[in-house]
C-alpha cells in the first residue's frame, strides 16, 4: 500500500504536454472514472456541494496545457 494517492498522479504533475496529446486516452477511460475526473476538473474550487480539491485539477489537468 505504499503507492497511495494523492501521489498516484505525480508522474503527470510536471509533464509539459497538451490536453490534445492525451485526449485519445482520456476518451478511452472507463466512463465512471472519466466522469469523476471531469467533475474534479470543472469544479476545482467548489467548496459546497460536490466539494473537490483544487490540488487534483492542478495535478492532472491544470498542468496539461489546454491549447
Amino acid at each position: 500500500m505504499a503507492d497511495v494517492p494523492p501521489y498516484h498522479y505525480s508522474v503527470c504533475l510536471n509533464l509539459d504536454c497538451t490536453r490534445s496529446d492525451l485526449q485519445p486516452y482520456l476518451n478511452q477511460l472507463n466512463p465512471i472514472l472519466a466522469n469523476i475526473m471531469s467533475i474534479i476538473q470543472t469544479n476545482p474550487d467548489d467548496s459546497g456541494e460536490g466539494a473537490l480539491s483544487p490540488n487534483f485539477s492542478k495535478i492532472l489537468f491544470s498542468k496539461i496545457k489546454t491549447s
Binding site: 500500500m1 505504499a2 503507492d3 497511495v4 494517492p5 494523492p6 498516484h8 498522479y9 508522474v11 503527470c12 509533464l15 509539459d16 504536454c17 497538451t18 496529446d21 492525451l22 485519445p24 486516452y25 482520456l26 478511452q28 477511460l29 472507463n30 465512471i32 472514472l33 469523476i36 475526473m37 467533475i39 474534479i40 459546497g48 456541494e49 460536490g50 466539494a51 473537490l52 480539491s53 490540488n55 487534483f56 495535478i59 496539461i64
Partner: protein
C-alpha cells in the same frame, strides 16, 4: 466521556475564529415511524430519547427554527442552506403541515435572502402522486429508503404487524421514475448476505439513477453480526459490477466519494474522508443536536437541551459531542494515523469508531472491510489510468 474528549472540549473555544460552518440541517419533523426496521438507529439501537419528544414538530418550533437558521446564515454570510426533512417517517405529519412548512420556508427565504434547498427522506410507504406533485411544485428532492429485491427489503423493513413494505415502496419508486419533475434518489442499508450485483441490478431495473449504499450502524460496543471482511467483499463485488458491467450505471455516492479521495480530491460526504462533521439536527421538540447516528453509541448521548426558540445555532459549538464531530480527525487512533489510507478512510464514519472506554479514538469497526474495498478500488482505477500515465510520460517535454 473519556479524558481525551474532555480535554478536547475544554481547549476548544470558537469565540474569535468560528469552526467550519454548518450548511445542512436535518429536521426531525416526525419522531415516530410506520415501519419498525430492526437496524433503525432512531428506535432500535438503544437510544430512547424519542419517547420524551413530541411525535410531530409544532409549527411554532418549525417557524422559530427557520428564523434562527436564516439569521445564522446571514451572520455567517452563507447564501444557501440545505434542510433535510427527516424522521421517523416525515410524511406521517401530513400534507397540510408540509405544505405550510414549505410556504413558510419560502417566506423566510424571501425575507432573509437565504436560499433553502429542501429535501425529504421517506420510507416511501405513504408516497403518492399528490405528495410528488407537492414536492415537484416546491422543488423538494426526495430520498426513498429501499433495501433491494423483496426478499431482502422485507427482511428488515417491516411494519409493526410484521408485514413487509416492499410492494408499497416499489410503487413509490415507480411513481418517481415515471415523474420527470422531481429530483430523487434511493438510500439502501446494506445486508452483506445479499448478492451485491442483484441488489444493484434491481435498482437499475426500477429506473433508479442515484443510490447510496449505507453501512449498517455498528460500533465496537455493538459490532456487526458478520465476520470481519464480509462487508468488504460485498462492496468489492458491488464496485466491480457498477464500474464495469452496467451500460448506464447509476450514481453511487459512496463509490464516487471514495474515487474522489483516491484521486487526491475531497469528499463531499461525512462517511468518508477527513471532513469535520458540521451537520446540525433539529429534533421534534426543537432542540439543536449533533449528528443523529451518534445516538447508537449511548442512550441520550446526543441530547443538548438547546432550544431553537431561545438559543442561536452557534450555541451548539460549545457542545462537547458536536466539537468531537468537528474535530474528529484529532481523535484518530494511532492505527489510523499510520495507515496508508488514512486520508481516504480517515477513520471511517464517526459512530463506527466508538467504544465506551476509548471513545472515538479507534479505527472503524469496519476497518478491515474499508481497507479491502479502498485497496480494491485503488487497484482498479490505477490500472485504468496506466495508459494515460504512460502516454503523458511519453510526450516529449
Amino acid at each position: 466521556m473519556t479524558g481525551a474528549v474532555k480535554n478536547l472540549a475544554r481547549k476548544t473555544r470558537w469565540v474569535d475564529t468560528p469552526p467550519p460552518l454548518a450548511t445542512a440541517f436535518v429536521v426531525k419533523i416526525a419522531e415516530r415511524c410506520n415501519l419498525n426496521c430492526s437496524y433503525c438507529y432512531m428506535y432500535n439501537k438503544g437510544d430512547l430519547s424519542y419517547l420524551r419528544r413530541p411525535k410531530f414538530m409544532s409549527a411554532e418550533v418549525a417557524g422559530a427554527m427557520l428564523t434562527r437558521i436564516a439569521a445564522y446564515a446571514q451572520r455567517r454570510r452563507l447564501k444557501k442552506i440545505a434542510l433535510a426533512l427527516h424522521g421517523g417517517e416525515p410524511l406521517l405529519i401530513g400534507r397540510q403541515w408540509v405544505q405550510w412548512f414549505l410556504l413558510e420556508a419560502q417566506r423566510v427565504a424571501e425575507l432573509s435572502g437565504i436560499a433553502f434547498k429542501i429535501g425529504i427522506q421517506t420510507n416511501g410507504v405513504l408516497l403518492d402522486p399528490e405528495w410528488v406533485r407537492l414536492f415537484s411544485e416546491y422543488k423538494v428532492g426526495i430520498g426513498v429508503s429501499c433495501d433491494g429485491p423483496e426478499e431482502w427489503h422485507d427482511l428488515e423493513r417491516r411494519d409493526f404487524a410484521e408485514h413487509g413494505s416492499y410492494k408499497q415502496v416499489k410503487a413509490a419508486i415507480e411513481l418517481l421514475a415515471a415523474s420527470k419533475a422531481v429530483e430523487w434518489a434511493v438510500l439502501t442499508v446494506v445486508n452483506p448476505q445479499a448478492s451485491a450485483p442483484s441488489v444493484l441490478k434491481h435498482f437499475v431495473d426500477l429506473g433508479v439513477r442515484q443510490v447510496d449504499f449505507l453501512w449498517p450502524e455498528y460500533n465496537h460496543d455493538s459490532p456487526p453480526p458478520w465476520p470481519s471482511g464480509t462487508m468488504g467483499r460485498y462492496f468489492c463485488e458491488l464496485f466491480d459490477y457498477w464500474y464495469s458491467e452496467l451500460p448506464k450505471p447509476p450514481r453511487i455516492r459512496w463509490f464516487e466519494n471514495a474515487m474522489l479521495l483516491l484521486l487526491g480530491g475531497r469528499s463531499a460526504c461525512d462517511v468518508l474522508g477527513p471532513n469535520p462533521i458540521t451537520d446540525i439536527m433539529v429534533e421534534s421538540d426543537g432542540t439543536w443536536e449533533p449528528l443523529d447516528t451518534l445516538r447508537i453509541c449511548r442512550n441520550g448521548m446526543t441530547r443538548t437541551g438547546l432550544d431553537v426558540r431561545t438559543r442561536d445555532v452557534e450555541e451548539i459549538w460549545s457542545v462537547p459531542l458536536y466539537q468531537i464531530g468537528l474535530r474528529n480527525q484529532e481523535l484518530l487512533s494511532d492505527t489510523c494515523r499510520s495507515c496508508s489510507f488514512g486520508q481516504v478512510c480517515a477513520g471511517g464514519y464517526l459512530p463506527h469508531r466508538y467504544r465506551h472506554d476509548t471513545g472515538f479514538s479507534n479505527p472503524s469497526v469496519y476497518c478491515a472491510d474499508l481497507l479491502a474495498v479502498l485497496s480494491h478500488i485503488h487497484r482498479r482505477i490505477s490500472a485504468d489510468l496506466e495508459p494515460l500515465r504512460a502516454a503523458a510520460a511519453s510526450v516529449p517535454a
